[in-house]
Subunit: 213 residues, 2 copies
């Protein structure tokens, strides 16, 4: 990636020397992550004729956690779940977005994202980097109720956008309604009720020809 | 606004009838808020040559809360503070963004935003709408440590972007470095340390001619 060859974003205009070194590392990280706003996803927005970016998506998930927590099958700590979704896509700043129906890119995804995590969280003071890395690891592992619900939001959100687009990425060549159900089933690990609603949308989308039978 | 004349976004493609009425209200709200991604702010991105939108900004604040909480003058509940920043700009979906240096728009801001809050949070089931409205009210009132820190992030984030842009909105006609200090002083109500760093950036920006003396 250009960004990784070019050094850190903050190096283009170094912070004043009066900012002490620990805070400088925090702010350098917070400037670097501005790039999440430039990572495009496959999903189309409902509100405008363009694709969504990772920062917008992450904000939408955080609001979904706050709004839909009552549907979680197990009790969740809402604030902690919001932390998971706010950091969950950060590695894509260096690793790029891997569209859910792209099996070829999917094969190298874990390796690329682990390297990106080392580099990105390494910008922070060591203890702070470790704390954010732990949140990302928790999200990926899906072993806590919070991580399962966060992942459910990550799969439900583009489904709402695809519904509004009358198909959206469901129309990707080679993708069928059954494949969509397969990739979205993880919603049911966080919320039975939301998985039922997701199936309503996919089933109705298939009936209307927005997803292939 | 066109969006308010045109009814709800979800009305353009109603959800399947199998989704029950409470969840339907939740999802209708979550589709409606997709519009936050189309509300442009005055601030330029650091990572690309375009202005930032409210959804990107809100995500950035949430990550800043998580990263900078150690600098809060009073202990804060990080998860709760993240809730505040995730909802703080929602009313701009109907009320629009009010740039910080636009005093004319500033006069009507509160009235426009209150009406927007009534309408937007009214889409949700009553108890859920009340809960989100309470978060917005708390943010606006700045009476809790969490609200003060959230507001500090709201003022610090564009300052980082303006620094990276070598001026950005500091170059707005009629704005001086002293006016920037005045509008940003609220950072000091949440964090003495971050306010000191903010002053370093503004002072250095003034020395370099990025903000008028």
């Amino acid at each position: 990636m250009t960004s990784s060859d070019a050094g850190l974003l903050a190096d283009q205009n170094p912070l004043p020397s009066g900012v002490d070194s620990r805070l400088r590392e925090h702010l350098t990280f917070l400037i670097e992550v501005d790039q999440l706003k430039t990572v495009l996803r496959a999903s189309p927005l409902a509100a405008a004729d363009r694709r969504e970016n990772d920062a917008e998506h992450s904000w939408h998930l955080a609001l979904m956690v706050l709004t839909l927590a009552e549907y979680a099958d197990e009790p969740i700590d809402v604030g902690h779940t919001m932390k998971l979704v706010v950091v969950h896509d950060l590695v894509e700043i260096y690793a790029g977005d891997t569209p859910i129906y792209d099996t070829e890119l999917g094969e190298s995804q874990q390796e690329r994202e682990e390297a990106a995590a080392d580099r990105l969280f390494g910008i922070l003071p060591e203890d702070a980097g470790r704390a954010l890395r732990a949140l990302w690891d928790e999200f990926e592992a899906r072993k806590t109720p919070e991580a399962r619900f966060a992942k459910a939001m990550d799969r439900l959100q583009p489904l709402l956008l695809n519904w509004m687009a009358k198909g959206g990425t469901w129309r990707t060549p080679g993708v069928t309604a059954e494949a969509v159900r397969g990739r979205k089933a993880v919603i049911g690990e966080g919320s039975t009720k939301l998985w039922e609603a997701a199936l309503e949308l996919i089933d109705e989308g298939e009936r209307r020809g927005w997803a292939r039978s």
